[in-house]
């Protein structure tokens, strides 16, 4: 009789296995049969048949833990790859990239130099500048969209994580109530393992098992997510330091803790990694290109002279560095400011200023190096090309600020020049060799050295004395002698009123050379030539990259990061697959095996049934015999 019951259980379990052949996380089960204790009859022991001691699930805890670990790594990289590929496609797209717009702009500048008096190339230059602005705007907008999408996904992931941990806590509770030390509810354990794996796909966790079968789940640097039947929920809230981004908080009875920086692994870790490293660097790099272009082009344009007879004005504008005060700052503390003083020295890093013990410390976030302080402000001049200004903000200990010198460069890039006559293609001054001069003396290479000099446009004469080995320099407009009796040498350079010029030849007494405002010079392209040449100069990153090279290096960086992510993802994926295969090999259901078991147990069952039948026959024979 015991055989019938035992093999019926075995058949049931086989059918349970067959039924769950496609169930995720299911571990095949096996009925543990054991010979019952024999019964003693005098000197002999007579077997009492078979008993079912346990229904065991076949698993290997180490493989399960490996799967969790590889799931975290793989899902982190998978999530990063999804976003990094999108970023890569965005900046490398042949039509959407900055490069065609940059090329067009500098070609248009070159065309203005080719034909400075004609309106057509000037119209084209302004259109190309507006197109450049549109390109910067759309690239930065797309990156902001990625940023916002990351934030939305962070919220989804956090919601999923909370749902999963709640469920784990519930199962913990059930297991605690129904399990004993010997027998564990296999299907519930499978369910919990499955949930833990799903959780580790979202975020890297540590699982600690208690002796009673209950597990605790820890996240980040050891914060309890699940303890027994209790869940501590995660929440996605504004990061107190980076107030325009979401951070992760762990909410427990004892209060909320910001654990953003200790979150690792899983799709949540991947989102944070992508946002805080890949995306931020790319946004800053594009911003730096925009700022460098605007500042260097403006500086050249201001040295020029436009068709209306005015000195050039700024061609582009970009916003000042972004400064964010931490939400935890003292409410009375103001916000410091920052200005870019040297575009060539700009990095793509953000900076953090901490006010501790009455001193400011400025930390570069890319390498966590202290770049200034600790010292008392108020101004830290020219740290990586940025002047940090804490004048009068009344910080108290613990206040901190994030400085982002380049983040908003691309989105704030604007073209200011709209009128073709405002393009300053000419040089503001010109030299004139007087026709009536007897000597053969010329003035050339008139160059503006300081466009802010108030007397730059004054008419200045160089008149040679008798004998002609000295000359006087006279400011006609300002009626002032600038220099008298200057000794003449052939090829000498003279500098006055913010310009410099070269004198050549052999003068005679009374010869006059003039420097004057360059009015009416419609075809002068001396400044426009410099515009086009700016694209060959390497201003960016400590004078190592041109605008174009800066963008292509950014593209290559994102490409390299993406490539690295893909390679690592493939590695982690194959490790994960290997672990899954190992788990399947141990715990998976094989239908052929179950078919064989079915036959085996069926035969055993039939045999047991036959024993019953035989017993009945024997019993009947006995009855009949009486």
């Amino acid at each position: 009789m015991s055989g019938l019951k035992a093999f019926q259980s075995a058949l049931n379990t086989t059918s349970h296995n067959i039924a769950n052949v496609q169930t995720d996380g299911y571990s095949r089960q096996r009925v543990e049969l054991d010979t019952r204790p024999p019964q003693q009859f005098g000197n002999i022991f007579i077997g009492q048949g078979v008993g079912v001691t346990d229904v065991q699930r076949i698993i290997d805890e180490f493989v399960t833990a490996n799967i969790r670990e590889f799931s975290s790594s793989f899902n982190r990289l998978e999530m990063m790859e999804t976003f990094a590929s999108r970023l890569e496609n965005l900046i490398a797209d042949e039509n959407g990239s900055l490069l065609p717009a940059l090329d067009d702009f500098f070609n248009a500048a070159s065309d203005v130099a080719n034909d400075p008096s004609s309106p057509a190339p000037r119209v084209t230059l302004i259109a190309a500048a507006e197109n450049l602005q549109a390109r910067f705007t759309s690239l930065s907008t797309e990156m902001q969209n990625l940023d916002q999408e990351v934030d939305r996904r962070i919220q989804f992931e956090v919601a999923d994580i909370n749902a999963i941990t709640t469920e784990i806590a519930r199962i913990n509770d059930n297991i605690e109530r129904i399990s004993s030390t010997d027998n564990e509810p296999a299907d519930l354990l499978d369910k919990r393992d499955q949930l833990l794996q799903q959780l580790s796909e979202k975020v890297s966790v540590t699982v600690v098992e208690q002796t009673d079968g209950i597990i605790n789940v820890l996240v980040g640097s050891g914060q309890l997510l699940v303890t027994g039947a209790i869940t501590n929920q995660l929440s996605a809230v504004v990061d107190p330091n980076n107030t325009d981004r979401l951070g992760i908080q762990l909410v427990s009875n004892s209060g909320s803790v910001n654990i953003t920086s200790s979150i690792s692994g899983g799709s949540l870790g991947g989102l944070l990694d992508f946002r805080d490293n890949v995306l931020t660097d790319t946004q800053n790099s594009l911003g730096r290109t925009a700022i460098a272009l605007a500042e260097t082009f403006n500086s050249q344009h201001r040295d020029g002279y436009d068709l209306n007879g005015n000195l050039g004005t700024d061609f582009f504008s970009v916003s000042a560095p972004q400064v964010l005060g931490a939400t935890t700052n003292n409410p009375a503390t103001g916000t410091p400011t920052a200005v870019i003083s040297d575009v060539t020295a700009l990095t793509i890093s953000d900076y953090r200023a901490d006010f501790v013990g009455g001193n400011y410390t400025i930390t570069r976030l890319s390498d966590n190096a202290v770049v200034a302080g600790p010292a008392v402000g108020p101004v830290f001049a020219n740290v990586d090309g940025v002047d940090f200004d804490f004048t009068g903000i009344g910080a108290v200990a613990g206040d901190s600020f994030i400085f982002r010198p380049t983040r908003q460069g691309a989105e704030s890039f604007r073209t200011l020049i709209t009128d073709v006559n405002d393009i300053a293609a000419a040089s503001p001054i010109r030299g004139v060799d007087t026709t009536a001069n007897i000597g053969d003396v010329t003035i050339s290479n008139e160059t503006v050295t300081d466009v802010t000099d108030a007397n730059l446009l004054n008419t200045v004469t160089v008149t040679f004395n008798t004998p002609a080995n000295t000359f006087d320099v006279f400011d006609v407009t300002g009626a002032a002698l600038l220099a008298g009796g200057v000794a003449y040498t052939d090829g000498m350079t003279i500098s006055f009123n913010g310009w410099s010029a070269t004198l050549n030849g052999s003068p005679q007494p009374g010869d006059v050379l003039t420097i004057e405002e360059n009015t009416g010079a419609a075809t002068d392209n001396r400044n426009a030539l410099f515009f086009a040449d700016l694209s060959n100069q390497q201003f960016i990153g400590g004078n190592t990259a041109s605008y174009e090279q800066s963008y292509s290096a950014m593209t290559a960086n994102v490409g390299a990061v993406t490539q690295q992510i893909k390679i690592n993802r493939d590695v982690e994926e194959s490790m994960l697959n290997a672990s899954v295969a190992e788990r399947e090999s141990i715990s998976g259901v094989n239908l052929d095996e179950e078919a064989a078991n079915l036959i085996r147990f069926q035969q055993a069952y039939q045999a047991s049934a036959r024993v019953v039948q035989t017993a009945q026959t024997i019993f009947q024979t006995l009855l009949d015999a009486t």
């Binding site: 009536a436 392209n525 090999s585």
Partner: protein, 402 residues
Amino acid sequence: MRVSTSLIYTQSLRNMLQQQSEVIRTQQQLATGKQNLVPSDDPSTASRILDLNDALNKIGQYEENANFAVQRLGVEESILGSVENLLQRVRELTIQAGNLATLDPVSKVAIADEIRELNNELFNLVNTRDVNGEYLFSGYQTGTQPFTIDASGNYVYNGDQGQLELQIGENRKILTNDSGADVFQLIRNGNGSFITDNNIANTGNGVISTGSVLNPSAFLSDDYTIRFTSATTYEVDNNTTGAVNIIGAQAYTDGGSISFDGLEVSISGTPAVGDSFTVNASRNQSIMTTLRDLSSAITGTTSSPAGNAQYIQSIASALNNIDRGMENIIEVRTRVGARLNSIDAQRDDNDARKLQFTSVKSDIEDLDFAEAISRLTFQSTALQASQQTFARVQDLSLFDFI
């Protein structure tokens, strides 16, 4: 190894998906003709391609700039050619005019008229506009007519000395124009160092030669007067410094050389007492002024020994000035030619670099089609094999036999 049923499915399926994605990738490569589809396929190559594109774009712009330069210089060169021919004709006429013995008054008038006409033509040439209606020879002031005639009949230059420079190579700029002042106006008259003339009030028929500078280091670029204190003696004053008699009371010989302050002239003919000759430092004189003075000199002088001396002096002086003008035009034309040659050389250079960059770019960017097509064939076959194996393996089940 023990294999679970679901693993058989998932693993075969994963293989097929993997192979499918490889086939798709090869298909995309074939469709675009590119080896790398996104930067992450090969980041360093991707950035090199971008840099090469930029270099090629710049070369393209340099080519365009060079076309502009060639166009501008071509126009200037053709105008200068016309001016040179015109001056050649003026020179011939001047030589004819100088041949007093065979010249009748009617011919003189005809020659003067022709020179006047040629001067008008020259005036039009120096004020040439380009196709955009801009003046070629006014420097940067292309909206201003370079040469005008003022109330007193003098030629005035209204432009500046600006020269438009174009970038035709990474480190190569080329000047594409010359100002009217430099081409037509800033021309030293006389022999280039000094100019000789006889006094209009002279009564003798003495004629002073063009002269030359013998000792450049002693030459001062000062103005002098050679005064005849008698028919056979002369003195020299320096008018610039006001020093009189820097050479006192020298004996005059017909055609004999007179030298002072590093220069040498000679006077021939028979000067009268009180006659004087000037030796002035060269001034700038426009070609138009030279031609105007010439035409009025041809018809303006009277027929007398002194008048003939005036005439010969004027013709000689005009010839000198025309030669200076032609020298200058030829010099400018040579410079224009040299610039055109430089542009050609730079274009060759640009073309060579373009070819080189294009071929490098093609090497690293373009797909090896033969390799890609054979890869596609191989991948398709592998995919097909996986599909067939999958179907075959799925047929196998012990349940079919019990």
